[in-house]
């Protein structure tokens, strides 16, 4: 299948390992992975912060870069960015776009998938041949959970990973407190939410907390690093991309 990878601005710039893992994983599964080089950002930060006029060019660029009918699917290693493409681009296009933009947005949204959705729903896979011999706990990010309704899909993928010791995270579906600019505008409330999430993670004894969103992991990982917990965060794609022949070497988190 010809798959276009949407790296997301955060993934491309700050968390390239998560995007590399996504690309490698899809190639290993036998797919033709392309990266439209003119891609930038989905505009989620703008919309969520209250700006719908400013991201119009971003929404337009996204529709143009991924609109090629030869692209059968757009895969995003981020629940919130996939959610933005599926739900917010329409809002922006309805309000400020022309007919062409509305049509472009509609065409792209139906073939855009978050990684776990794509693997389970489109490729019909649960075992992707991964090997990751560590204790792991999974945090379902809010937008994956409630905007995309990915449900158990990431857990099904994780359960099939060879060697993994998957432990349940208490109050898993509680928000970690990131929320984009919420973490800046309401930093103290965000920190109070983060503290509870970190307590639950450290309580599981897992070495790694994984999720399908680099942004939430940046928040949780930033907190775990600050308290020198010895725990670390890793994107779901990085676990799924690890194999016996190319294992993921778990570097020790900052202590």
């Amino acid at each position: 299948m010809r798959i276009a990878l949407f790296a997301t601005c955060l993934g491309d710039t700050l968390f390239p390992e998560a995007v590399k893992s996504t690309a490698v994983l899809l190639a290993r599964l036998g797919h033709d992975v392309v990266f439209p080089p003119q891609q930038t950002c989905c505009g989620q930060m703008h919309v969520n912060t209250g700006y719908q006029r400013e991201p119009v060019p971003l929404v337009r660029n996204f529709a143009e870069q991924f609109g090629d009918p030869a692209i059968e699917a757009v895969v995003v290693p981020s629940g919130s960015c996939a959610g933005s493409v599926r739900h917010q681009h329409e809002i922006v296009a309805e309000r400020y776009g022309d007919a062409a933009l509305r049509a472009g947005v509609a065409a792209v949204r139906t073939k855009t998938y978050e990684l776990s959705e794509f693997l389970v729903d489109v490729l019909d896979l649960t075992d992707v041949g991964a090997y990751f011999p560590h204790r792991v706990t999974y945090h379902p990010t809010c937008h994956s959970l409630r905007m995309l309704r990915v449900g158990e899909k990431p857990l099904r993928l994780l359960r099939a990973v060879e060697g993994i010791d998957l432990v349940e995270l208490p109050e898993a579906d509680a928000c970690c407190g990131f929320g984009g600019t919420f973490a800046v505008k309401n930093a103290e409330t965000s920190t109070a939410m983060l503290r509870d999430k970190m307590d639950h993670i450290t309580g599981t004894g897992a070495a790694v907390c994984t999720a399908g969103d680099s942004s939430c992991l940046m928040h949780i990982g930033g907190g775990l690093s600050r308290i020198r917990s010895g725990k670390r965060t890793l994107h779901l794609a990085q676990i799924l991309a690890a194999t016996r022949t190319a294992p993921h070497v778990l570097t020790e988190a900052a202590r």
């Binding site: 912060t49 309401n186 103290e188």
Partner: protein
Amino acid sequence: MSSPTGPATQGTFLGMPAVPPRSPYGTGHLRGERSFPRAAHDELGNEQLRRNLGKATHSIRAKRLAVTGELPDWEQLRDTGSAIKTDTMNRLPELLEQLERKVTERGGTVHWARDGVEANEIVTRLVRETGSDEILKVKSMATQEIGLNEHLASQGIAALETDLAELIVQLADDRPSHILVPAIHRNREEIREIFLRHIPGVDPALDADPARLAAAARAFLREKFMTTKVAVSGANFGIAETGTLAVVESEGNGRMCLTLPEMLITVMGIEKVLPRFQDLEVFLQLLPRSSTGERMNPYTSLWTGVTPGDGPQEFHLVLLDNGRTAALADRIGRAALNCIRCSACLNVCPVYERTGGHAYGSTYPGPIGAVLTPQLAGMHGAKNDPNSSLPYASSLCGACFDACPVKIDIPSLLVELRHQHTEQSGTTAEKLAMKAAAAVMKRPGLFTAAQKAAGLGRVPAGRDGTLSRLPPPLNGWSDSRDTPAPPKQTFRSWFASAEGAAAMRAAAEEGARHTDDAPHTDDAPQEES
């Protein structure tokens, strides 16, 4: 769209529709004194509050899930509730006129109040005409919203709350912090202290046992029920078809209040109307399950006009706008008027759970309050209005939308209000930054250059590759979180590099080898659990 800051007539010309009035600035309780982050700062430091709230919201959450889970048609009920409310809002004027007609036919009197000032004046006049200087109150968020108690006090009329939790809040000279459990921020010991200090003649040996606390309040209230001539209530529902008003409650004090006095005045927000009597079938299932986690609330009182020789012999219905038609006039915002005040969204909200209700500064706290309050009272950018901080008091996690019995898409409404706020607030540093970010991101060449510049962020990073202090306005973030320094190579440059191409080729070959040896896709089904 400009923000309406003055009376509705200001700046209106002939032939131009007036902007619907909002709740007048500076009246009632639809606005706090500080922005949400400032108010939250103090509340977050209160450990006792956090414990009380955490315990209460977690227990109601569990109860709600249990009783909604046992109904096979819960989702259909939610859809039906949502449809009835949407239909109601679509023809609100017609339904309100029908309600007025029916109430009048049955011997009641209907008053229309454009805002809280008018509603307070109407109620004061009615009470004064009876010659009473004290009234009983039950179940009214609308009168809390308009500050009726304070207004009556200024006119020499004492109002006593009869709902147990509201009584606790009133005796402590405190403010409610939850839609359904106004004293949720207080524990038993605190309540015992309040009663000992404020209930005249209370047994000094009173302990913190809930039953004894309730009995102490009951003894105090019974005396008042027997002697007070006027009561003011709110309404959960008003039925247009029959002119029937409804109040649901847990303690029975409300029923006392609704039946014993000689005059009953009900203050009802105009959005509380329902078209048909049969609609109660849906809402009397949705409301108690969503709010208290009960299959049924203990007391449901319905009354229609006046019944000679039985109950209050004079009935007045005050229909309150106070910003509701302004909300209704907004195509997107009107969905917030569907709210039935069950508080399910508060009980699942991670922000409410940490900050409590007072941080929102309004009679309506929590997620729905963050949507409703700015719509009723406006967001006055020029006045540095605390209400303009409310749409941002959410991480947009969506738990509220999942919990709402009438499916109000609160996260989308919050995003919409944020948009309205930024559109109204002129040029700000944030807007310039957002414009600049969009300008960079719409040009892939510029974006790549900016990524390279971000790579310079590696310089201030420590040996562990993290940034621990960031400049304002990002310092709130960096107070509790490390930030990874941008790696040397972006994904796009890796993908375009020889190294990236080799890695992708190797992965494809590895996959092909596996497909030949032992295809992983084939053994997938057994792996599921």
